[in-house]
């Protein structure tokens, strides 16, 4: 049973990323296997987000996946094949900007977690305002600690703001959560069965929007205010990435050696 079984034809498809509309809500369906993050993924995703922003009647954005994965993190194989530290660096800037874009998007955002959301996939889900995870299959997990990866400083800040009390378990100990566990630990807002994932996500988003939805600029500014510490750290991280060129070379070689 796929989430997209309930959707009609996509308005646009770009390399396995589909844009649909359900009423006034945009739904981006990721259909690229493990939905791992690389430059092509980000470029296509950004283009679909541009389309959503340009659609003035759109009132919210849902992102979801097809099959076993919501997102399984960085495309490590692809990263290992990058020819220079500069390309590596460029990719990390791009992914940081993309996460920030979702974080302060001028529409309410909801991650409908259809399957595994690991590492970068979890980071993506937490950049959204709301999370709904199916209770039948898949785990939500920041497993970076198990694979010797660290977060960017700004990641810690927005994850902490979003998770609250169970932050250390999730990040330091890399706990993995089923939908039901994620719900009772405050990581997601609902945990319906797979067949109801999309409809409950739409309902939840509607319940926040109310009749008129959010004035876009107001919502964007409110997010910038609430996540001010995140954005300030993000700025510092961006200039830091420039200074850490030597380190990225080491990390790139390190990643290569792990594969």
């Amino acid at each position: 049973m796929n989430v997209s079984d309930h959707l009609h034809k996509p308005v646009k498809t770009l390399n396995g990323l589909e844009l649909h509309y359900v009423g006034d809500f945009a739904v981006i369906v990721m259909d690229r296997g493990e939905n791992r993050l690389n430059t092509d993924f980000l470029d296509c995703f950004n283009e679909l987000m541009d389309d959503v922003e340009r659609n003035s009647s759109c009132k919210g954005l849902i992102t979801t996946g097809k099959g076993k994965f919501y997102g399984n993190g960085l495309d490590l194989k692809w990263i290992a094949g990058l020819k220079s530290p500069e390309m590596f660096h460029e990719f990390f800037v791009k992914i940081s900007l993309w996460l920030k874009r979702i974080l302060v998007f001028p529409l309410p955002t909801l991650a409908a977690i259809n399957g595994h959301a690991y590492a970068g996939g979890a980071l993506m889900a937490f950049a959204h305002d709301l999370r709904v995870q199916n209770k039948e299959k898949g785990w939500l997990c920041f497993n970076e600690v198990f694979i010797s990866r660290q977060f960017q400083p700004f990641h810690y800040l927005y994850i902490r703001t979003k998770i609250g009390q169970n932050y250390t378990e999730a990040i330091v100990l890399g706990k993995r959560y089923t939908g039901s566990e994620a719900l009772s630990n405050g990581l997601v807002h609902a945990a319906p069965s797979m067949s109801l994932l999309l409809s409950e996500s739409v309902q939840l988003l509607k319940s926040f929007c109310g009749k008129s939805g959010y004035p876009r600029e107001s919502l964007h500014l409110m997010k910038c205010d609430v996540y001010r510490d995140v954005l300030e750290q993000h700025q510092r991280d961006m200039s830091g990435i420039g200074r850490e060129k030597k380190e990225t070379k080491i990390v790139a070689n390190d990643v290569k050696s792990r594969l």
Binding site: L130, L187, Y214, S218, L219, M222, K223, D225
Partner: protein
């Protein structure tokens, strides 16, 4: 059933018409009775007068604020703001923030007994108290600034975050302006109890006393503790006063009032 009728054995110690002060068993009760109890200069001046009387009463062990009717407080007096200059609105915001800080650091435990709606500035006012009780069956607690192009001053964010906690309750309440009934506010940790209206005052007094114990709090100690715990709020408040934060907020409020 009105709040005042549950105070029927007591005469007000001071009646300023829109605002009255009662003492019930060593607990001060300030009752607002002016329709939506919107915040303007008159309300602020009267509030300070009553708080002065409360502080001067050495046997008083706690403060409850509440109101009669459908509203606890529906926020800033936007009609007034529309008719006055940006400079005057700025002055109102400065004085409002001063009152909020006084409440936040009050040398007695404080409780907002929400008899009805607490929206925007009214919600913020309630959050400045140590404790909150919201009636079970009617009325909402809601920081709806995001939906009406409203704005917070920077010091409000650490205040709201400290009271609500990190986590999705904070982001739902502030970024998405979620509306909470009594039971919802209780399960989200925004209020401490959600009794029926007939028991609102009694349970509020009971709750306050359960914290005070037999001897209550040494006033100076409590005020110093609040100053320590809310250090980041105070620091940001000073910065907000010195910078043009209040002016910016006034400009936004003016443009908001025109909608």
């Amino acid at each position: 059933m009105s709040i005042r009728s549950s105070l029927h054995l007591h005469k007000p110690v001071k009646d300023l018409k829109a605002l009255a002060l009662y003492f019930v068993d060593k607990i001060a009760v300030i009752v607002m009775d002016n329709g939506e109890n919107r915040i303007n200069f008159e309300l602020i001046v009267k509030f300070h007068k009553l708080l002065d009387i409360v502080e001067r009463n050495s046997s008083c062990k706690g403060l409850i604020t509440t109101a009669d009717g459908k509203f606890y407080c529906n926020g800033l007096d936007l009609d007034w703001a529309l008719q006055h200059s940006t400079e005057q609105v700025e002055e109102l915001l400065v004085q409002l923030n001063e009152l909020q800080m006084r409440l936040l650091l009050f040398p007695m435990p404080t409780l907002a007994a929400l008899n009805g709606h607490a929206f925007a500035g009214g919600a913020l006012f309630a959050i400045a108290h140590d404790l909150r009780v919201l009636r079970q069956d009617k009325g909402w607690l809601c920081f709806n600034e995001v939906k009406i192009n409203g704005v917070f001053v920077k010091c409000h964010f650490p205040l709201m975050r400290t009271k609500i906690g990190f986590g999705h309750n904070y982001t739902d309440a502030i970024v998405l302006g979620k509306r909470y009934t009594g039971p919802e506010a209780l399960s989200s940790g925004l209020v401490h109890a959600a009794p029926p209206i007939s028991l609102l005052l009694i349970e509020s007094i009971h709750l306050l006393k359960s914290f005070s114990g037999k001897s209550g709090y040494p006033r100076e100690s409590l005020q110093l503790m609040k100053s320590d715990v809310y250090r980041d709020v105070i620091t940001q408040y000073q910065v907000d006063l010195d910078s043009n934060s209040m002016k910016k907020a006034a400009e936004k409020t003016k443009s908001m009032s025109k909608l």
